[in-house]
Amino acid sequence: MKSDLILRVIAKLLMPFTLLFAVYVQFHGDFGPGGGFQAGVIGAAAVVFYSIIFGLPAGRRLAPERLVEAMLAAGVLLYAGVGLAGIALGGNYLDYFVLGADPVAGQHRGIFWIEAGVALTVAGVMLKLFYMFAGRSRDL
């Protein structure tokens, strides 16, 4: 598929919009359906799509394996870290009330960060899964 000009152009054009959609789903989760998990899947799908059209090495250049592995750990750490921050600021574990000036602002901040953590981990895992399954077929 690497040689198909139309596909290549469309893929390049679609990439930013897919990523933008992922960001929309991420931040619109408060008001409509969506959230970190769905955003992570969509974001990963953008890169997967890119790698299918341009080949796996190109995809790996866009999102290197090391970065992806760091992403999946960092997301969980971010989430758990928000929880620990709750303890540090005098609340219980995962207590968002203490994170901001007033309870609702704290809730907002907490939800924002944990959704970011979820998206990070999910995108990392989905990409990693794709790399693992797709990369393996080559040497069989």
Binding site: A73, A74, A80, G83, L84, G91, N92, Y93, L94, D95
Partner: protein, 493 residues
């Protein structure tokens, strides 16, 4: 800081895993794992002493009051199981370093430590949570980590074992969720204490009965309740040694704990044991398991599988205590959670050392020939742990069987005393096969004595000492178990 211990108990190993994956260093992974295991032990002991003095501790995660938020609850029973799990972990973690070095390829080391941390966090999370659905989530964390641990075993049969375990484990977890769904639909809540309170007002008992059936079968699959034990022998036999030791000592025990928790604190135990044939069914299954799987163990050629079948038989003792439903038998069951965990942990830790020196992933009984001369300390350790498995006075195994027999007598079930004795005789038979091979058979080739690496041997022997210690000083083990049994029986009656 003190009031946050329930959360930290689970969060520490939970955070260690991604840190290990982030750093990717073998040395850091081992250090973090060991540090976390010891920290968990300290926390669990602190919690245990605290609840012994002040009663149960409740912790609202996110500061949302239950039943709206998720509650962590440490009481006499869960506190005891927390100590039992983290105690084993603190022996397995130092052992892992050498054991993994031989059995798993180098660039996977940090991942196996991460899996071990996740498994530990999952098991602790199952124990401490007071929320039915949260329990499922942590059950899945522990299970997924376990499947990976087993699949990383040195033999290709480990893969098939992990696959079978995974299919049955997932079916079990799904059944559990169905059971929880029925309870939720009838009560509108997921908090275990709240469910129990609201179940008493439920008029139509049919959904509750179905929930009971689904949860029993689902958890039964996880704890290898006879005849749902088919996954266990292979998973234990082909996984890496440290994984086998850890799982044998903790995973099935935590599932038994879940069963106890549901039977005595969620469902109405009075109705459960008086109007339903729960007692009879549990006792029959336990007896079948004790006799049948012990018989299989007597004829099993592979040593690890032999002791795996013996594990299924020992789980039979524990469920027997639940079925008998009185103070003495429950004390026996709960203390057997700890005692059998320590005993089996010791055996599998030592066998890991033997497998390492024999150089073969599958360990036939004949491979133990002359072990008394080749690895004298290991052989002595195996014999002592074997005695504890049989239930010889002076070892941990004796204590739990003693209480089970007391419980059987209290119920007037003399035939069960005979069954326990018969099963112990079968245990003598299979342990004797190991002893006979180790001391009475000449080694295949004459070679200089060579023990397992110091770290592995020390961890194994330390656990053997623990077997003897819990056989002599029962103030913690029986004391804690008695409190827990009282707590269960007080439950809703």
């Amino acid at each position: 800081m003190f009031e946050h211990l329930p959360a930290l108990q689970v969060v520490l190993p939970l955070v260690a895993a991604p840190l290990i994956v982030l750093v990717r260093s073998r040395r850091f992974a081992w250090l973090a794992t060991t540090a976390v295991s010891y920290a968990c032990l300290v926390i669990s002991v602190a919690l245990f002493t605290r609840i012994a003095a002040n009663g149960a501790v409740s912790y609202a995660i996110g500061s949302w009051p239950p039943p709206w938020g998720i509650e962590y609850r440490v009481d006499a029973l869960s506190g005891f199981v927390l100590v039992a799990v983290s105690l084993t972990a603190s022996f397995v973690a130092p052992y892992a370093q050498r054991s993994i070095a031989v059995e798993v390829s180098r660039d996977r080391h940090y991942l196996i430590y991460a899996m071990y941390c996740l498994c530990l966090a999952g098991l602790l999370g199952i124990t401490i949570t007071a929320d039915a659905f949260n329990l499922f989530v942590f059950l899945e964390i522990a299970s997924l980590a376990t499947y990976v641990l087993v699949a990383l075993g040195p033999d290709r049969r480990a893969l098939v074992a992990a696959y079978q375990y995974m299919i049955l484990g997932t079916v079990g977890a799904t059944f559990y969720v169905i059971g929880v769904a029925l309870l939720y639909l009838m009560t509108g809540t997921l908090n275990l204490g709240d469910i129990a309170a609201r179940l008493q007002a439920v008029e139509d008992v049919r959904p509750v009965l179905a929930a009971l059936a689904f949860i029993t079968v689902g958890v039964g699959l996880k704890l290898a309740l006879f005849p749902l034990h088919q996954w266990l022998p292979n998973a234990y036999a082909y996984g890496p040694s440290m994984a086998t030791a850890f799982l044998a000592a903790t995973a099935t025990k935590v599932s038994v704990y879940v069963l106890m928790r549901y039977y005595f604190t969620v469902f109405d135990p009075a109705a459960l044991f008086e109007h339903l044939p729960t007692s009879e069914v549990l006792i029959l299954l336990s007896v079948a398991s004790m006799v049948a799987t012990s018989l299989v163990a007597v004829f099993e050629p592979d040593v690890k599988r032999l002791f795996a079948y013996s594990s299924v038989a020992q789980i039979g003792y524990i469920t027997l205590g639940i079925g008998l439903d009185n103070q003495a038998s429950l004390t026996g069951s709960i203390v057997h959670l700890l005692n059998h965990g320590v005993t089996k942990g010791a055996i599998f830790l030592l066998l890991g050392g033997v497998a390492l020196r024999c150089g073969a992933p599958a360990l036939g009984v004949s491979a133990l020939a002359g072990l008394g001369r080749r690895m004298p300390l290991t052989a002595v350790g195996l014999v002592i742990a074997g005695l504890s498995l049989i239930g010889v006075p002076g070892t941990a195994g004796f204590i739990s069987k003693w209480y089970l027999i007391l419980g059987a007598i209290e119920r007037g079930q003399w035939w069960l005393v005979a069954v326990i004795a018969a099963a112990s005789l079968l245990a003598v038979a299979y342990v004797w096969r190991v002893v006979e091979a180790a001391y009475l058979r000449a080694p295949a080739a004459e070679e200089a004595p060579r023990e397992a690496p110091a770290g592995m041997l020390a961890a194994g022997l330390a656990m053997v000492l623990l077997c003897v210690y819990f056989g002599l000083d029962t103030s913690f083990s029986v004391g804690g178990a008695r409190e827990a049994a009282e707590f269960l029986l007080r439950g809703l009656r």
